[in-house]
């Protein structure tokens, strides 16, 4: 890639930061060139973020309708999936999924809840009750 072709699309994902890539200068020598981002990276990152946001909103709606515990909402809010949450909490995936059921979640011990709160980096109160303002 020629250094003139290094993308400078000022993508929102970078939030004003720049990264650096190796590209060829006018003598054909490699040099490190700053980039404010490439539209392609914005598109694929946005795609992943949108997918997480969609799952989070769905989880919130299901929680408010009484179909799910608050756990999946927090999981998607922290950009996790069941596999990631299981690895970080140390619980088996089937246990994490079981904790998605409101009846099961409401009876969890403080110790178990504390593990989830620690994984998400939030307080026990925040874990158990989702603020009405959240979406």
């Amino acid at each position: 890639m020629d250094s003139r072709d290094v993308p400078q699309d000022q993508i929102p994902v970078f939030a004003g930061h720049s990264k650096a890539v190796y590209a060829l200068d006018s003598h054909g020598d490699y040099t490190l060139v700053p980039t404010s981002g490439w539209e392609v990276e914005e598109i694929v990152t946005r795609q992943a973020l949108d997918e997480l946001a969609r799952q989070r909103r769905q989880a919130l709606a299901d929680h408010r309708a009484g179909r799910l515990s608050p756990l999946p909402y927090h999981m998607y809010d922290k950009k996790m999936d069941v596999a990631t949450l299981a690895r970080e909490s140390g619980f088996w995936q089937w246990r994490v999924r079981r904790h998605f059921r409101p009846a099961v979640f409401n009876k969890l011990s403080l110790t178990t809840l504390a593990v989830y709160a620690e994984v998400f980096g939030i307080s026990l109160t925040e874990l158990q009750r989702i603020d009405d303002a959240r979406d």
Binding site: M1, P12, E41, I43, V44, G121
Partner: protein, 332 residues
């Protein structure tokens, strides 16, 4: 505690090779980032359909995390001092002790828990490398190779980022170079390193590694027409995220390697390596076009791309890399 060790921050194309470069320079061995990357034989291609991350198969354009650190240590005959910890408190105390002794230290972290990353860049990738060069009260002073500026990170967040559990869990991994030998003789290691990478890329016996791995992924993409379009979009998008985002990936690694070949050409007085560097650059440009096609596929561009086009492009890349590394291997 307030300690600020001398450290000159430089941005890098890839976190691990950037950190290793900075640590070696600090220890008195000036070396470029591409040289650290190339010598440690870190370029590769792997596609593992069964190893899922965030629900998508792993596609990697470089060797697993820590390979630059261990690779360059072996070559220099100066192993890095490394440590992992069971107890987070202990891991933080050790970091403080090294800082107090005037060291700058490389640490492995989870990107998601580093507060100075913009939200859109924070994902659960647990093998991000950065340098800690000081501490100012509750804040650690960070040289993160991804960014042009130095950063700060509070103790609680850094502890969380260093001791996250899960895939590639860092377990508080920290490292710095041991005593360097007087004569490192870097130059004589170039040829064997190129040979090893070329062999891995052109002659891997495993179908999902090297140029064969690229062709394998191309065939899988070709079969996507049978899948739900939304699933196909997520599958393809993830290949590019692995390429561009997590450690600047794919095309980025090809350009990094091309830069290594160019520098080697000058050091060894081998003009053919400079030519090889140009060919590697051309391959990197193909990877960028591949990424562009996928972006057009995802975003329903005015001129949309088709799955067939994308698969064909990748098949072409697989052929180019196969031919290129076979020839590079014969030179080495």
């Amino acid at each position: 505690m307030r300690v600020i060790n001398p450290y000159t921050h430089r941005q890098a194309a890839h976190c691990e090779s950037g950190v290793v470069r900075a640590l070696l320079e600090h220890a008195g061995l000036p070396i470029s980032e591409p040289m650290a990357f190339g010598l440690s034989r870190s370029l590769v291609f792997v596609h593992l359909p069964l190893l899922k991350i965030g629900g998508q198969p792993l596609t990697s354009y470089r060797m697993p995390p820590r390979s630059v650190i261990t690779g360059i240590g072996k070559i220099l005959g100066a192993r890095f001092a490394t440590a992992t910890f069971r107890d987070p408190r202990q891991g933080m105390d050790h970091l403080d002790a090294h800082l107090a002794q005037g060291r700058i230290v490389g640490v492995q972290t989870s990107v998601f828990w580093l507060p100075y990353f913009p939200d859109g860049m924070r994902f659960h990738f647990n093998a991000h490398n950065l340098i800690v060069y000081g501490r100012d009260g509750d804040d650690y002073l960070i040289g993160d190779p991804v960014f042009a500026e130095t950063s700060r990170c509070d103790a609680r967040s850094l502890m969380k980022a260093r001791f996250i559990k899960g895939m590639l869990a860092p377990k508080g991994f920290l490292y710095f170079p041991g005593p360097l030998p007087k004569e490192t003789g870097l130059i004589r290691h170039i040829r064997p390193s190129i040979k090893a990478t070329a062999r891995m890329m052109a002659k891997s016996p495993l179908p999902f590694v090297g140029a064969k791995g690229i062709a394998f992924l191309a065939r899988r993409i070709g079969r996507l027409t049978r899948r739900d379009p939304e699933q196909a979009r997520l599958f393809l998008g993830n290949i590019i995220r692995m390429q561009e985002e997590i450690g600047t990936g794919g095309a980025g690694f090809r350009f990094l390697y091309a830069s290594f070949l160019q520098e080697s050409a000058a050091l060894l007085h081998e003009p053919c390596l400079r030519e090889a560097s140009m060919r590697m650059t051309a391959i990197g440009d193909e990877w960028r076009e591949f990424a562009l096609l996928i972006a057009r596929f995802i975003k329903n561009h005015r001129v949309p791309a088709t799955v067939e086009e994308i698969a064909d492009k990748l098949t072409t890349i697989a052929r180019m890399e196969q031919a290129f590394f076979a020839e590079l291997g014969r030179w080495a």
